[in-house]
Each structure stands twice: as C-alpha cells, then as structure tokens.
C-alpha cells in the first residue's frame, strides 16, 4: 500500500474586509484512502491581528493516509469566518485546494468566495452582517451543483504543506 504524510500548517489568511478571523477546515478523500493517524478536520483559534492586514493561525496539520489508488486524492477545504467584538460569527469565504501531489514543501494560496444574495440581501448584509451560507458544505469541494450559485470573491487562505510519499515509485507512479 502506498502512503502519504501531510505535515504542515494553515498559516493564516489575508485580503478579507476585516481580519478578526478563524477557519474551519477539513480534508476529504476518495474511497480508496484510509486515514491511519491524525485529525482530518478542525477549527483554528480566532486571531485579531495587532498591526498587519492578515490573520495568523499557525494551525498544525499532521495526517497519515494509506491508499490503494490515486482516485480521490486528498483535498483540503476551508470555511473562513469572521468574529466581531460582540462574539457574532459571520461567514467570510469558502475555498478548497488539492493537497499537492509532488513530495516536498509547498506554499499554497487558496482563493475563497462567498455566496452573494439578491440586491436586498446584499444591502441588509452591509448593515447587519450575516448573509447566505451553503446548506450543504460538500459544495465547497465538489463541482456538482455549482452552476446554481452566484458568488463573490473574498480573500485567500495561506497554507504551508509538506508532502511525504511512500512506495509510490514501487507502483510505477511518477510524481
């Protein structure tokens, strides 16, 4: 069986309207993959940066997968949320990216988007916050029913991932 180790961290996020942010993340794989060790999902701390225009979480990721096939290569998805001074949470963006398929260290900037509502909803969102959210979070990393969505771009999530592969060359995989 081939094995994959993902060792890294969700460094932070930038480019959002406000930077008091936290992130819910998860890793999704196909049926041939089995997680041997490590957490496959989590939620970062809430960071309110002092000076800079970016939130920093330094949230560690350490996962060990064993796999019988290449289909369903791991994808990491994010939900960036904003927490204001009253403790209310507002969705700021959804994003995903594939875990890199080459061994080594990778710096990834994952763009995010959020659903934009009708004009009335956008005005209400400007004054009151809140806004539409996805009912089914699987849509973050699947293309199935995306054509029904209207979205708007938000900031990006910065991830530093190290990928260690084992026995892939034994099975003739070039990566």
């Amino acid at each position: 069986m081939a094995e994959v180790h993902i060792v890294g961290q969700i460094v932070g996020a930038s480019g959002f309207p406000d930077h008091s942010l936290f992130c819910k993340w998860g890793i999704n794989t196909g049926g041939a993959w089995k997680a041997l060790a490590g957490l496959r999902e989590g939620q970062t701390q809430v960071d309110t940066p002092q000076q800079h225009d970016a939130a920093y979480w330094a949230h560690p990721i350490d996962i060990h997968y064993a796999t019988k096939g290449l289909q369903g290569w791991p994808k990491i998805h994010f939900q960036v949320w904003h927490q204001d001074s009253f403790g209310r949470n507002e969705l700021y963006g959804y994003g995903f990216c594939h875990v890199p398929t080459t061994p080594g260290m990778h710096e990834i900037e994952c763009p995010t988007w959020r659903p934009s509502g009708s004009f009335k909803e956008q005005v209400s969102q400007y004054f009151l916050g809140g806004g539409p959210q996805l009912k089914n979070p699987d849509l973050i990393y699947s293309g199935a029913d995306r054509y029904r969505l209207h979205t708007i771009a938000m900031g990006s999530v910065h991830v530093r991932l190290g990928v260690i592969l084992r026995n892939f060359d034994k099975y003739g995989i070039e990566c």
Binding site: Q45, T48, P49, A58, I61, T102, M105, R160
Partner: protein, 208 residues
Amino acid sequence: KMSQSSVFLLMVGGQIESAEFPDFDDIYCKYCFTFGPDWLVTSGLDEGLTQVTKKSRDDRQQFVWNFPLDITFKTTNPFGWPQLIVHAYGIDAFGTDVVRGYGVTHVPITPGRHKIRIPMFVPESSSQLQKLTAWILGRRPEYVDVRVLAQGEGREVTRVRSQGFLTVSFNVVMKDMKKLGYDVIPSEMSTSVIPESVGPNSGGTTET
C-alpha cells in the same frame, strides 16, 4: 533474509535568528521541540533559553538572538513530525516578565536550508476588566502547557492576537528515509541544485 531496520534519522541544525515586535523591547525566547510518540531525541537539546536582547535603534527595529539549534531525532514513522515551539517573553513597564508571543512551526520535511518567518501571537483576555487587571498585575493570559500549540484540537475556543514575527532558519538532513521508501523530493529533482537568493531583500520563506 535478515530483517532491515525500519528507523530513519532526522538531523536539524539552525538558529532562532531574529524577530520583529513593533510595540515591545527587551525580549528573550524559550523554545522546545515537540514530536509524536514514535519519535526519540538521540542527540542535542530539545529545549532552551536565549539571551535577552534589545531592538536595534534603526529603521529595522529588529531583535537578534542568533541562537543555535542542534538536534537529531530517530523515528519509525513520519507521523508526529517534530515542531519547534518558541515563546517570547518581554519585560513590561513594571519590570515583570510577560509573554509577548507564541509561535509554532514544523521542522521542514525536505533536506536543505530553509528560512521561515513565523507569526507570534498571545492569548487575548476574555474581557476588558481582565485586560486591565492583567496589565496592572503583570499576569497576562498564558498557556499552561505550551505543547497544546502543536496540536490541532482545542484551539477553537481560544482567541489570540498576533503581534510580531520570528525568523528561524533550519538546515535539515535525513538518513535512510529513501531506503524505507519515503520520498520527500520529486524524483527528477534529486540531483539538481537550486540556488538560494541572498542579499538585503531576501525576506519571507525560501527553500533550496
């Protein structure tokens, strides 16, 4: 056929180079390495304390420690890959030691030289009153056990404030990882050399 050893070694050299903390002065760092249950330290120190330094009186406003890190690990499994946790302490207006930042990063998984700039954050007080008492008494919120920073769980209830950066450099060497079937660099790159950029403008993360 004799059974082969399933152990590989990770040797890490490097330094806690410098930091930027715009609002503070007189800072020292405590560091420790944390790792999973399959890992063992075979040589070197897994924790230590740097000197106290003042920031430079120029535009850079930098703290420099140039503090050596030297440690070798032995393991059977990459899971639980070592992380470096650094906590920076400063002296406040009343003369007590207060936490100025916590930072954590994984030891890089590829051999070679790496320079990483890690954000430093402090836990936030949960209310204005606690903030005021903390400032007066010099007892800021701290982590009871810093090793929680190396874990992914339990962070969702914490609020922090990032207020600085620390630069760490690592030189990483592995032994026998390839023998056990692990690949940390793409196959066609194993014989090429990538030049590293040096000079006044090379900040941020670089790798070779």
